[in-house]
């Protein structure tokens, strides 16, 4: 009879939580993409062995408390301003790996000026952009990225583009800027997508060391609470509705 303790051995280990992830329980809703993306960033930092060289900037939004989960030095920015903080950190400490983690309300609405200009200056930073088409933390209001016709608490009859404008494909704008080196759009809804997304994050962090410009990764994400769908249904809805507007793949680099 094989005992459990006989199985728990170094040679049998197939998966372990990254040392960069803390033991704090995520406050994210079950099914939310944030947790997966956090894990991928943690793994990249661990694999590159850059914990002591990483400075992270968290936004205002659901990931405002991201600093509870990754054991690196963090600065918690005002809403939309993370790229400005990241700019200064990178300029003042050029040997550091600086990344800003932002949602779509933070990056594509209130922080439009900061993201465009940081990318245009080609700041030597990584931007992780979580796009779930909604304001999650404040309770599901319309975001700049909300799809046409999509109901939210501030567009209860669906987004009317005549009233509220069109979904903002800010990553397409970012890719036009000469200051950006690598611009990609990823997702984390399947194991294959997760692996691809991790590769993209790794590439972005590796590029930072080379100092050739800004690295920008959009992760098209689910907000099953805000969308009022189960985790499985939310993934299906994302593939069906979000991907046609925000198609996955590299836009640059």
């Amino acid at each position: 009879m094989v005992e459990v303790k006989d199985i728990i051995k170094e040679e049998n280990l197939v998966y372990t939580k990254s040392k960069i992830l803390t033991d704090k329980v995520f406050h994210y809703c079950p099914g939310c993409s944030h947790g997966v993306v956090h894990k991928l960033i943690a793994e990249v930092i661990e694999e590159m062995d850059i914990q002591d060289k990483t400075i992270a900037i968290s936004p205002v939004g659901c990931s405002v408390l991201a600093y509870n989960y990754l054991a690196v030095d963090w600065q918690e920015a005002a809403h939309g301003r993370a790229p400005a903080l990241a700019t200064a950190v990178s300029r003042l400490m050029p040997d550091k790996y600086v990344f800003a983690y932002q949602g779509d309300g933070d990056l594509a609405s209130i922080g439009t000026a900061e993201i465009i200009h940081a990318c245009n200056r080609g700041e030597n930073i990584v931007i992780i952009f979580i796009n779930n088409g909604i304001y999650g933390m404040t309770g599901g209001q319309m975001a700049p990225t909300t799809l046409e016709g999509m109901p939210t608490s501030t567009s209860p009859y669906g987004r009317d583009v005549k009233l509220a404008g069109h979904p903002l494909k800010i990553t397409d704008l970012i890719a036009q800027l000469p200051g950006t080196e690598y611009v990609t759009r990823q997702a984390v809804h399947t194991p294959a997508a997760v692996r691809k997304c991790k590769k993209a994050i790794l590439k972005a962090f590796q590029n930072v060391g080379k100092k050739n410009g800004t690295q920008f990764i959009e992760v098209v994400s689910t907000c099953n609470s805000g969308w009022k769908l189960s985790p499985v249904k939310a993934n299906e809805w994302m593939v069906e509705n979000m991907f046609p507007v925000y198609p996955l793949g590299d836009l640059k680099g």
Partner: protein, 362 residues
């Protein structure tokens, strides 16, 4: 060998920043203070001391760059004028809430709104009472000469780091634009990484090393009980400042019957007004607050026991006068005299106001 030069107040801010070992300046152009960034760009301190100078896309971005830099334990600053300082208030309250040291220079112009580009002192409330949301204060220094524009850059950083609190130089268009002889400071090198570790290593985000826990710079606490404890900590810090950091200058106050209270360029005008009064046989003195926060309340309380009245002279509709009244607490009359909208009072205007509002009152 001391170095003397004839310089504009704004130019001196830039020169003093380089010489005091400032690590970074982040700004956005606005009249009447654009010479600060222009001087820095001409001087190219990144070649000399390694200081970073960056023109941001907005005042909002500039103050948030200061937030990022200050979080790393670096000596960082920004400058602007009134409308731009309003835009910076969000960043300033985050910096105060995260207890970070930095220097903000406000070369005040008339308002409200776009107002005028001429000098004013109408941002007193904004500077000393908080400015942004939440309970906080800045350390506020009020230079009255180009020399003090030089001296207060290093002093502002010193106090900011001593208390982990943002400091502001509250200047105005007169002091920023006028040229005077100035004795420049000696060069001090920028802090090394080791020095930053020694000074701010317990909190700065310099990269998590195995010997310490990771650092988080934030002004957020979702637990109200903890937030209240933090608010009390700030109050205690401000009390300590009030005990230890009050700075002021008195001129001819010992035998004075009346006290003019004025800071910055108004205090220069009032110096002449004191002379004119003395020639007329009126015993007038000048109290010049140098720190506007913490405010020289105690000396005003002392003076209120022996003088007949105070006249607060400001280029505003009457802002600092409220702090004078709070200190005097009804013991003697306190009046306000000011010009507005970029107009500057003359010494004779001040003498006339003193006579009308305090001396010849039936």
């Amino acid at each position: 060998m001391a170095e003397y030069r004839l310089m504009k107040g704004n130019e001196v801010i830039a020169e003093a920043a380089i010489r005091c070992g400032c690590d970074g300046y982040f700004g956005y152009p606005i009249t009447p203070q654009s010479e600060i960034m222009e001087t820095l760009m001409l001087r190219k301190p990144w070649e000399e001391t390694g200081m970073v100078v960056l023109q941001a896309e907005s005042e909002i971005a500039a103050i948030n760059m200061v937030y990022g830099g200050a979080s790393c334990g670096k000596k960082v600053m920004t400058s602007s004028s009134s409308p731009g300082i309003s835009l910076k208030q969000e960043g300033i309250t985050y910096i105060a809430g995260a207890e970070l040291p930095c220097l903000i220079v406000n070369v005040v112009r008339g308002g409200p709104g776009l107002g005028t580009i001429q000098p004013a002192q109408s941002d007193y409330f904004q500077a000393v009472k908080g400015g942004g949301h939440g309970d906080y204060h800045l350390i506020v220094l009020a230079p009255a000469s180009v020399q003090e524009m030089n001296d207060f850059v290093a002093l502002g950083f010193e106090l900011a780091f001593k208390y982990r609190n943002p400091a502001m130089i509250l200047s105005d268009g007169v002091i920023g634009q006028m040229m005077e002889k100035v004795k420049l400071s000696e060069y001090k090198p920028r802090w090394t990484d080791e020095e930053i570790q020694k000074i701010s290593g317990s909190w700065a985000t310099t990269g998590k090393t195995p010997d310490r826990d990771y650092h988080v710079i934030t002004s957020l606490d979702l637990d109200s009980a903890k937030q209240e404890i933090f608010n009390h900590k700030l109050i205690e810090k401000y009390k300590t400042m009030a005990e230890k950091e009050v700075r002021y200058e008195t001129i001819s106050c010992d035998d004075a019957d009346y006290i003019l209270v004025a800071y910055g360029s108004s205090s220069r005008i009032c110096q002449k007004a004191v002379d004119l009064c003395r020639e007329k046989g009126i015993k007038v003195g000048l109290l010049r607050p140098i720190t506007l926060f913490p405010y020289p309340t105690k000396i005003i309380q002392e003076m209120a026991k022996r003088v007949k009245g105070f006249l607060s002279v400001e280029m505003s509709a009457g802002q600092m006068v409220e702090d004078v009244r709070l200190a005097v607490n009804g013991k003697v009359p306190v009046e306000h005299y000011g010009r507005l909208g970029g107009m500057i009072p003359t010494p004779n205007d001040v003498v006339k106001a003193l006579e009308e509002k305090l001396i010849n009152v039936k």
